[in-house]
Amino acid sequence: MMAGIMRHIVSVRGIVIVALLLYLLFLPYYASAFYINVFTRILIWAIAGISLNLILGYGGMISFGHAAYLGVAAYTVLAFAEQGIYLGWVQWPVAIILAGVVSAFIGTLCLRTRGLHFIMITLAFTQMLFFFFRSLDRFRGDDGLRIKKRSEFDFGWFELDLMDRLTFYYLVFAILLVALLFVFRLVNSRFGAVLRGSMSNDVRMQAIGVSTYGYRLTAFVIAGMMCGVAGLLMANMERFVSPAVLSWTVSGDLIFIVVLGGSGRLFGPVFGALVFFLLIEFLGDITIHWQLIMGPFLVLVVLFARTGIDGALNGLDHKLRVRFGRGQSGDEEMSS
């Protein structure tokens, strides 16, 4: 067990991951306020990406409507704020539960379809929600509304001040780590085995006596609730919510983050979100037509790096191990 863990860490991929986590941990020591905000935003997107990865990468459910749960949770926070309720203990659980309820409803219907139909019907539901929120005059439709202050957590003996940039950053970072641990345990559990099995070969799953619908739906709802966490963090981060949060392009970006980082790979969405947004930052500095470069880049990744960044690092390690005589015969773990 320990040897296995050591083998994972002493590898290019392991070193990159540890270095990345350390970099994020000590970020405030070298990053300006502006970049702390940039990274907070990126980590929130990474959490959303991790939630999508659970169903897309491990369950083969290509949801093109994952922004719905960002939106539901973000609007829940906004709705409470409009009522003058900023208590985190109220806002957060309700936001997460509502994201779960909406994902249960959408999942129940969509999971009866597969492939392209599933992609289109998840998109359709999210578009419905998009137009629903756009039509709400109460929240100023298209323009969206500002939120006066972030959620309040008062423990009596100690108050968590999310308006403080560093506190909020570390909270998001901690939630990211919890999300990673949670998904890691989940996909390697019996539940995760069924999920991966249904992606690999659903007919075979049925033939060994497992009806996968309930498991896939459960995963879909868990992913929806996790994405709700990202949504409520997003509302807190921007202190502004508009229908743009559940635009179809957001769902598309989330898919791209997962694919870029490596779908079905635990750290994939973290790599994906980092590279995606840093690239936008970087290209945006060079030209306002950054999408002209981003577009072909996405196509190249999909064509030539099908396992994404994490998969490429893993492949590199594999080559190194073969070269230095510690080669294994292609039996890499699927879900680590």
Partner: protein, 257 residues
């Protein structure tokens, strides 16, 4: 041909199954029985409806008419998963395994399927001896013990076919539905598969669809000949070999096949 009455000692009995795909009749008043401890082989020319029959019995296809009784209970409308839970396991003509998982993980999945619901979210399956122990034992029974950690998709063709049967056994079935287990195999692998199936005969009833006549005549206790979705003859291997209708319809006029 009138259908024989449903006999209570048959493990599986199907009566008057009809299936049409558009204008094509894939099963036509089809009757089939499998008794405990027997290997019942089904042969027939391409397009005779052999795979359709397996799909009907395992639940991938629902019959337009007719009924299927397994172990005394009607299962005609049950899903494939439910039928598997009742003890009907199957293999597919085109190998159906989890290619991205190790051989051991494939069997462990089948063991897990047999071990109650899988709404268990925290403990890793990779360290679950309740799954890995039996899975490893089954692999060893098939001579695949050394190959446990290899990705199933990287196993040799013959090994993949064996793995699929091993998975079927891991669900602790009472009836095995085997759809051309020797398909695409060389003579050595075929011989190995015949050996494996013969060794399983005491413990499992089998319905065997197979083109390899040597294998069929070596293994089968009874043979049914299927033509255009209809069973034209059922009997012992010797009876089938001598049946004139069978020779005309299938084995070739000179019986040299």
């Amino acid at each position: 041909m009138t259908s024989p009455a449903l006999q209570s000692d048959a493990l599986l009995a199907a009566r008057k199954l009809d299936v049409r795909f558009g204008g094509v009749v894939a099963a036509d008043q089809l009757d089939i029985d499998v008794y405990p401890g027997e290997i019942h082989a089904v042969i027939g020319p391409n397009g005779a409806g052999k795979t359709t029959m397996i799909n009907l019995l395992s639940g991938q296809i629902k019959p337009d008419n007719g009924k299927i009784v397994f172990d005394g209970a009607e299962i005609s409308r049950l899903s494939p998963a439910r039928r598997s839970q009742r003890g009907i396991a199957r293999s597919f003509q085109i190998t159906s395994i989890f290619k991205e998982m190790s051989a051991l993980a494939n069997i462990a999945m089948a063991v897990q399927a047999q071990d109650g619901h899988s709404f268990r979210f925290w403990r890793p399956v990779g360290a679950d001896d309740k799954l890995l122990g039996p899975a490893q034992a089954i692999l060893e029974q098939f001579g695949l013990g050394e190959r446990a950690e290899i990705l199933a998709g990287n196993l040799a063709h013959g090994e993949q076919r064996q793995l699929e049967i091993a998975m079927a056994l891991a669900t602790q079935p009472r009836l095995l539905l085997l759809d051309e287990p020797m398909a695409g195999m060389g003579s050595q692998d075929s011989a190995r598969m015949v050996e494996i199936l013969a060794s399983l005969k005491d413990n499992y009833a089998m319905l065997l669809v197979e083109h390899d006549m040597d294998a069929v005549f070596a293994l089968a206790d009874r043979i049914t000949v299927l033509v255009y979705g209809r069973a034209i003859a059922t009997g012992s291997p010797a009876e089938i070999r001598d049946d004139k209708n069978v020779r005309d319809a299938y084995l070739g006029e000179d019986g040299a096949n």
